[in-house]
């Protein structure tokens, strides 16, 4: 199909591109091991002398772990509740006939076109007036709300494709709707649960704007807020900042490589199924 000549240039191009993707990651990780002087004269090479202090001082820093833990809480809480609430709602749309179901479904769908930025100021006021500022719910509730629409669409599409014989049989046997949901629907939905989980986990883990608006108490900082404060403190002490960057980079990359199939399927499949 491709002549050798052609494929030679194609591979040259692909490796060059891979290099462009990789080099920024490599210089960051290597940079965390350098002294500032080394970084200045030798930003591309390996460290002349490997300094581990930037990394170890972070790893024994309670704040670093606190920020990480907070982000775990935000991501886990959001993902769990989006899966539960969206799948329950989608179950109703997929299996129950009732007046206004079409209208309600479209009401949720409308949410897909709502940009988050438009809502932030009123959202801040709502959270403040509900007395939730300074609690984890200030981040979790808005994240759930903005995650629902897409998750409902994905779940509804999946539930509708489940064989209706199953539903009829269970119903004849006296199974109620809620029993059916817990006994059959949820256990049979692991692929779509994985998709919704990936979208919300990655979204919450990386979210910056919402915690930036909602959180002003350092004890509740997510790691993106923490790293930005850290950056503000050390300004041009790049080795320190790069060490922090790398410490967040490495788990993300490992997580991605380990669960790559689910993540790619979740993020692209999620987009394509819309």
């Amino acid at each position: 199909m491709f002549s050798n000549f052609r494929s030679y240039y194609m591979y040259l191009f692909l490796f060059l591109l891979a290099g462009i993707i990789f080099i920024p990651l490599y210089v960051s990780i290597a940079g965390g091991f350098k002294t500032i002087g080394d970084l200045r004269t030798n930003s591309l090479g390996l460290p002349t002398e490997w300094i581990v202090g930037n990394y170890t001082s972070l790893l024994v820093d309670n704040k670093f772990w606190l920020f990480t833990w907070n982000s775990v809480l935000y991501a886990a809480g959001t993902t769990f509740l989006v899966i539960l609430l969206a799948s329950m709602t989608a179950f109703v749309f997929a299996h129950m006939k009732f007046v206004g179901s079409r209208f309600l479904f479209n009401y949720f769908i409308l949410g897909l076109t709502f940009p988050f930025a438009t809502a932030i100021l009123p959202l801040f006021l709502r959270v403040r007036d509900l007395g939730l500022l300074g609690s984890v719910w200030a981040v979790i509730l808005p994240q759930i709300a903005f995650g629902l629409a897409f998750a409902i669409i994905l779940f509804r599409g999946f539930f509708r494709q489940m064989p209706s014989e199953l539903f009829d049989a269970a119903f004849v046997d006296g199974c109620t709707y809620s029993q059916f949901y817990f006994k059959f629907t949820l256990p049979l939905s692991t692929p779509i649960i994985a998709t919704v989980a990936v979208i919300n986990l990655v979204g919450s883990w990386n979210n910056y704007l919402l915690p930036l608006i909602m959180i002003n108490n350092e004890n509740l900082y997510s790691w993106p807020l923490g790293i930005m404060v850290f950056r503000g403190e050390y300004i041009t002490d790049w080795p320190k900042i790069l060490a922090f960057v790398s410490l967040t980079l490495i788990p993300a990359v490992v997580f991605f490589l380990a669960l790559q199939r689910f993540i790619v399927a979740g993020l692209t499949g999620g987009a394509v199924k819309e």
Binding site: L25, S28, F124, Y177, Y208, A252
Partner: protein, 294 residues
Amino acid sequence: MNSAKYNALLSKYSTLVIFIIPALTIFTLFVVLPIVEAAYYSFYRWDGYGDPNKYVGLKNYKYLFKNKTFILSLKNNFYIIAISLFIQLPFALLVALMISDKIRGANFFRTVFFLPYILAEIVTGLIWAYIYDGNYGMVAAIWNFFGADPPHMIAEKETAMIALYIVIFWKYFGIHMMIYIAGLQNISKEVLEAAKVDGAGPVTTAWRIKIPIILPTIRLSVFLSILGALQLFDIIMPLTGGGPSNQTHSMVTYLYYFGVMRMKFGFGSAIGVVIFLICFTIAITYQRTLMRKD
């Protein structure tokens, strides 16, 4: 109605209500109402305490469209869209066409090219802020190597936007490539075999068969790219923070600096409403016209 039937119906409707109310409440309180409230607040001058009572009509909007920084941020958003559509997406498509076939190393390249997409925007921005740093960064090292004075790319008006485009390209072309690959892999083998039998080369096959077939996928990625670009925020913050001298704001960073930071709830809401109207108009026209058949 007998009681068994009545009970079944009761059970159905109570399940319905219990299943739908939590999502409906959260969605209404934290998505729909805030959007409506933003529209309302945008007609007021308000610091967020007490009730909004200083009605100013369209003043916030008038000020906004006379403000040079906001107009520039609007333009920046549209430049980013243009560059995404005319450079980034075609490039992603080209790469997808190269590695959607089972060539050696296809999986490796897919993984590498997709990798930046899963990194946090904040981290991406910090990495590149370092790379562009005129004293310590990689760009500086390359210039020094050639004996030239290194530029401070994100600190200079002329180059800051270019620096931002490069980062956006680096981070986001992978997701579009993956979306295209997903589409390309759905093309039936028979169609491609038939093309091969008819003597179509790889370029003809791509141009005449593959691209037309995945057109719905391409339209979707264009749509996602536009809406994503209009809401750009996270990546700008660690990179330029809208600077130098407010040259690299997007509408959302403008909203953050001039609405949120200054506690101007009315003015900030007006910015939000403009963003909403642009996104909503694009989404509706796009779905009514281009994506109708999909």
